[in-house]
């Protein structure tokens, strides 16, 4: 669904992303993890074209991204950035309606189908009762769900999330991740997200991509990839890994810095 081959991104003379390649299958949830400054967010921004890539191939739903313009890309793929802010007087319904913009020519107005999709996005995210509320009046978790609903209204095949749980308390973090997982399962939506919490990555993703200094350190199922040695070499932190019997996902206990 999303193939990235040999991606390089440079800021002036510093290489941030260095020969990054990944292949995400349809319907998978992939988490990108790695230390601060390892280039996680930069990769997502490069993939959506928000920042220019020096070289590399990106293929979305079997279409070469180079050959698509931004509007065509935005119909296939949606990225939710960190720290989104909306005007204080914007309602949830209005916010979600902007998700329909990629599907509209500049002179086209919203039609019945668009409003149906907006209702559907509200329903799928459990935000029906919030439609007329102001986004600025919502809690962090609810606001994040409103933005997710906007992303859904975009009807993408691939959803990119840049640290979707930042600034949220633990209950809201789980709520948002649960929602992402259920959207993934129900809609076969392919998800690639940047996460900080190793246990979130382990619990919520089919595959984990660990990066260090802009290149892939290892990529695979959490139970195969998240090992003591790996975490020690990538983060410089000593951990204990607990294998839970009922689910195959490893639980990581952080012990101390080396």
């Amino acid at each position: 669904m999303l193939k990235i081959h040999s991606l390089y991104i440079r800021y002036s003379d510093k290489t941030i992303v260095n020969d990054f390649s990944i292949n995400v299958e349809e319907g998978e949830v992939v988490s990108i993890i790695g230390p601060n400054g390892s280039g996680k967010s930069t990769i997502l921004k490069g993939v959506t074209g928000l920042i220019p890539c020096k070289s590399g191939q990106i293929c979305i739903a079997n279409q070469e991204a180079n050959l698509l313009n931004n509007k065509q890309i935005s119909k296939l793929m949606c990225m939710l950035c960190q720290g989104n802010v909306s005007p204080v007087d914007m309602t949830v319904g209005e916010l979600i309606s902007y998700g329909r913009m990629p599907h509209k020519k500049w002179y086209e107005r919203m039609d019945a189908e668009d409003f149906e999709i907006i209702e559907w996005a509200l329903m799928k995210t459990g935000m029906l009762n919030f439609k007329d509320r102001l986004v600025s009046s919502l809690s962090g978790g609810e606001a994040q769900k409103a933005w997710l609903a906007m992303a859904l209204a975009q009807c993408p095949k691939v959803l990119l999330l840049d640290e979707p749980t930042t600034y949220l308390d633990i209950a809201h973090q789980l709520e948002v991740l649960d929602l992402v997982r259920s959207l993934n399962r129900e809609l076969k939506l392919t998800v690639v997200m940047v996460l900080h919490d190793l246990n979130h990555a382990s619990t919520y993703s089919d595959k984990v991509c660990v990066i260090k200094k802009g290149s892939v350190q290892t990529y695979g199922r959490p139970q195969d990839v998240l090992t003591q040695e790996l975490i020690r070499s990538v983060y410089g932190v000593e951990t204990e890994i607990e294998q839970l019997p009922n689910n195959a996902r490893p639980r990581i206990h952080v012990l101390h810095k080396i």
């Binding site: 800021y11 002036s12 959506t48 074209g49 928000l50 313009n69 931004n70 509007k71 065509q72 890309i73 935005s74 119909k75 949606c78 990225m79 939710l80 950035c81 989104n84 802010v85 909306s86 005007p87 204080v88 007087d89 914007m90 309602t91 319904g93 209005e94 916010l95 902007y98 998700g99 913009m101 990629p102 500049w106 007329d132 975009q154």
Partner: protein
């Protein structure tokens, strides 16, 4: 609930339109020869005295119409710049667009008056050059544009062009008096031909501004979100900036530097009707027109027979009002 909102906004726009018409009728009546409302009305519908007809149709009405057009132009220019620069402080005055346009106009007036037919075009070139400068200096490869850098580079660009205006005024001080009225943002002596001259361009500008509403609205979500919603950011920036520069430049070419309209009016509009450009842009057009009509009428009647240019009134009243808005948390 959504339906109620629409009704409310339509009502506000309707009231604003009515107030605009009322302010036109009152402003037309005020001056060295005072007209009562009924006199004004009689003359407007064509059954007034000859002397009244002359005063009204040759002097007052063109002037009030000029204030209306320029006010709407500057307000629209300001609201578009605020949208595209993602900065509530942006306006054609503070970002140097107006002074860029003024430099080229002044140059033609003082140095090459034989080319005065090109003044509007020169204003657009000067204003556009200033906008390009602002963007060029605000741009950084790593972080793109930030609101703060745009406004800082705008202030710097404005200062440079202000300096050039000062330089031109000194070098050509013998020819300056003719340009002085214009530089202060005066609407005096504008006839119907001036109005008819600028009206088609302004109406084209207003139409273009109204067509920018959707892009401006999407930009409210931030540039990253706008990009992810399929907007071509560079194209959107160019289009919105162009329309804003166009509207400001044609205004400068006619009446010189009138500040604060583009800064204050969009704020007032947002406080009254909300941040959605579908509502705040049309309201800004009307409020801008209304405020410049009021400022100009005050300027020519307060110290009569002396006349204060509308630009000076706007600066004196607009500055404190802006500070008030800022303290109140509106800005």
């Amino acid at each position: 609930m959504a339906k109620n909102f629409k009704k409310k906004e339509a009502t506000i726009l309707g009231i604003a339109l009515m107030l605009l018409l009322v302010s036109i009728i009152i402003a037309v009546g005020i001056g060295s020869v005072q007209f009562t409302l009924s006199q004004t009305w009689q003359t407007l519908i064509g059954s007034g005295k000859d002397a009244d007809n002359t005063i009204l149709w040759d002097i007052r009405i063109p002037r009030v119409l000029m204030a209306l057009i320029i006010g709407a132009n500057l307000a629209a220019s300001g609201i578009l710049l605020q949208a595209v620069m993602n900065n509530p402080l942006a306006d054609p005055g503070l970002t140097g667009v107006s002074s860029g346009a003024a430099v080229t106009v002044l140059f033609i007036m003082l140095v090459a008056p034989e080319f005065s037919g090109f003044i509007p075009l020169a204003a657009i070139v000067g204003g556009g050059f200033a906008a390009v400068m602002v963007y060029a200096w605000a741009w950084k490869k790593e972080s793109g544009y930030t609101p703060i850098r745009i406004i800082l580079s705008g202030v710097a660009v404005n200062a440079v062009f202000g300096g050039v205006i000062g330089l031109l005024s000194i070098l050509y001080s013998d020819k300056l008096p003719a340009a002085l009225q214009w530089m202060n943002g005066s609407l005096s002596g504008k006839g119907m031909n001036d109005v008819l001259n600028i009206l088609p361009y302004s109406m084209a500008g207003w139409a273009m501004a109204l067509l920018c509403i959707r892009q401006a609205n999407i930009l409210r979500l931030g540039e990253q979100a706008a990009h992810n919603l399929g907007q071509n950011l560079n194209r959107v920036r160019f289009i919105l900036s162009f329309v804003a520069v166009f509207l400001a430049a044609i205004s400068v070419s006619k009446v010189g530097l009138v500040g604060f309209v583009g800064l204050i009016v969009p704020h007032m509009a947002r406080i009254i009707i909300g941040s959605n450009y579908k509502h705040s842009l049309p309201l800004s057009l009307m409020l801008g027109a209304m405020i410049l009509i009021i400022a100009d009428t005050a300027g020519r009647s307060l110290f009569s027979p002396l006349e204060i240019p509308a630009g000076i009134i706007m600066a004196m009243a607009g500055g404190p009002y802006f500070l008030y808005l800022m303290r109140k948390g509106g800005a």
